[in-house]
C-alpha cells in the first residue's frame, strides 16, 4: 500500500466535505479508494435512507452493484449483518458460507468472489450503512488493510453525520433522498451514452465521470446535462478516465 496514495485518498475525502457536498461522488471516492489501496478486488456501499431502508449508493463495478442488490432483495448477506449488528462481519471462504447466507454465498461465488469483509458505518450508537469489500481469492484480510478500511469508513461516516448536525435531521433526508434520485439520473444517462456511443455501462460511466472530474462538476449535474442535450454525448469521450472504471 503506498503511503502517498493513502494520504491522497484521505485528503480527497476531506476535500469533498468542504463545500458543495456531493454525496454520490464522496461515496464513490470511498469505494474507489478502498479498491486502489487495499488488497481487495471490489467494493460496494449501502446507506440507510429516512425510511430505514438500505440503498446501494456506490460500487466499484456493475457486478458488485448487482450483488449488493441481491443481498437487499434476499434479505441476507454480510452487509446486512454488519448494518444490523454494528460490527464487522468477515468470511474468509464464501464457498463454505452456505450455512450462514445460503443464497448470497451462491451468488457471490458465481460472481467470482471467494472472501468478503463488511464494515459498519457507525458513529457511537448510530449505524448509517455498511461497506462491503470483496476478494477473488479466499483468506483473511491483513490487519493493516482492515484498520485502513475502518479508518476510511470512519472518516466518511463522520463526514456524513457532521453534515447532518448542521441542520439536524432534515439535511440528511434532503441530501440522501436527492442523492438517490441523482443515482437514477446517472443510470438514465449511462444508458443514453452507452447506446449512442456503442459502449457498455462501465465505459459509459467512466466517460461521464471523467468529464465531470476534469471540469470539476457534479456527476449528477453532468448526467442531467447530457440527458437535456446541453452536453454533447461525443464530447464525453474527449476526456476519458481510463484508470477509473468504478461506479
Amino acid at each position: 500500500m503506498s503511503d502517498e496514495r493513502l494520504l491522497e485518498t484521505f485528503v480527497e475525502l476531506a476535500d469533498t466535505l468542504v463545500d458543495d457536498f456531493d454525496v454520490i461522488d464522496f461515496l464513490h471516492r470511498l469505494v474507489a479508494g478502498c479498491v486502489a489501496l487495499l488488497e481487495v478486488d471490489a467494493a460496494g456501499l449501502l446507506l440507510t435512507d429516512q425510511r430505514g431502508q438500505l440503498q446501494v449508493m456506490a460500487s466499484s463495478s456493475e457486478q458488485v452493484r448487482l450483488l449488493e442488490l441481491f443481498q437487499l432483495q434476499n434479505d441476507q448477506g454480510p452487509c446486512l449483518d454488519a448494518f444490523a449488528t454494528g460490527t464487522r462481519v468477515s468470511h474468509a471462504d464464501l464457498s463454505a458460507a452456505g450455512g450462514r447466507w445460503p443464497r448470497f454465498a451462491v451468488a457471490a461465488t458465481e460472481a467470482g468472489f471467494a472472501a468478503v469483509d463488511a464494515l459498519p458505518m457507525r458513529l457511537r450508537s448510530e449505524v448509517i450503512g455498511a461497506l462491503n469489500l470483496f476478494r477473488t481469492g479466499p483468506g483473511v484480510l491483513s490487519g493493516t488493510a482492515l484498520r485502513t478500511a475502518q479508518a476510511l469508513v470512519d472518516v466518511a461516516t463522520i463526514g456524513l453525520l457532521q453534515e447532518r448536525s448542521i441542520r439536524h435531521q432534515e439535511i440528511l433526508t434532503e441530501q440522501l433522498q436527492g442523492a438517490l434520485n441523482s443515482r437514477v439520473v446517472i443510470e438514465q444517462a449511462k444508458g443514453l451514452v452507452a447506446e449512442r456511443l456503442g459502449i457498455d455501462m462501465e465505459g459509459a460511466f467512466a466517460a461521464l465521470r471523467g468529464y465531470a472530474r476534469s471540469r470539476n462538476l457534479k456527476l449528477g449535474d453532468v448526467a442531467g446535462a447530457v440527458i437535456a442535450g446541453r452536453t454533447n454525448t461525443y464530447d464525453l469521450l474527449g476526456t476519458p478516465d481510463p484508470t477509473d472504471r468504478a461506479r
Binding site: R51, G178, V184, E187, A228
Partner: protein, 249 residues
Amino acid sequence: MATVAGNGDGDDRSAQVRAWVAERAVSRGVPVSVRLLCETAGARLAVSGVALTVDTAGWPELRCSTDVLGEWLAELHVTVGEGPCVDAQRTGGPVLAGDLDGSASQRRWPLFAPAAVEAGAGALFALPLVVGTIRLGVLALHRVVAGQLPPAILADSLAFADVALRLLVDEQAGLPAGNGDPAGEGWPLYSPQVHQATGMISAQLGVGMDEAFVRLRARAFADRRRLAELAADVVARRLRFDPTGEEAS
C-alpha cells in the same frame, strides 16, 4: 425514489399507506386515485393540509388539495416562480421548510416565504415525485404552525410520496391505477437496469426519458413480463426498440 423489497420497514410503510388508501376507496365506493391519496394523507398525517401538483409541460398543475391554503400555496409557486415545491421539482430531492417565517426560508425564497406566512402557512414540506429526470409532480404537505415533521411522520410522508409516484407512473403509461404490474414484481425501480434501459430506449427512439419509460413499461405490461427482466434484455442488447414501432430481438 426507489424502494427495495424485503428490506427494513420502508416497504411495510408503503404497504401500510396502500392499505390506508384502499380502505378509504372501499368505504367511499370510489376507485383508487391520487385525489383519494391526498385525502388519506390529510387524514393520517399530522399536517394541516396536503396538495398534489403534476408537471404539465413544465408547469405545476394542481390535481388535488385538501384545503384552500394548499390550493393557494400551489398558485403562489406559479405566481412568484420560486418556493419549496419549485426547488424540489428542480433538484429531485425533498425540501423540508420547517419554518417559513425563519430567516433561512425568508432568505431562500424572498418572494414566496413572506407571502406564504401572510396567508397563514407555518411550514411546507415538498416531496418530489420523480424517476431520475422524469419529473411527474410534487406532493406538498403544509402546517399552519412552524416545526419540522417528527421522524415517524416524515417516514410516512415519504411512503405516501412513493405511492403517489406509483399512481402517477401508471397513469402516465395508461395502465390501471396502482395495478400496472401483472407479473407481480412489486416496485421495480430499485433496479439500475430499468433506468439504464430507459436511457438506451430514449436514444434508440429519439424520445425523452419520460416517453422511453412509458414505452418500456407498456411493453412489459403487454408481454406480461417483469419490468426488470425486460430491462435486462435491453441492457444486454438482446432487445431493441425500433422507431418504426417493431421491436427487434
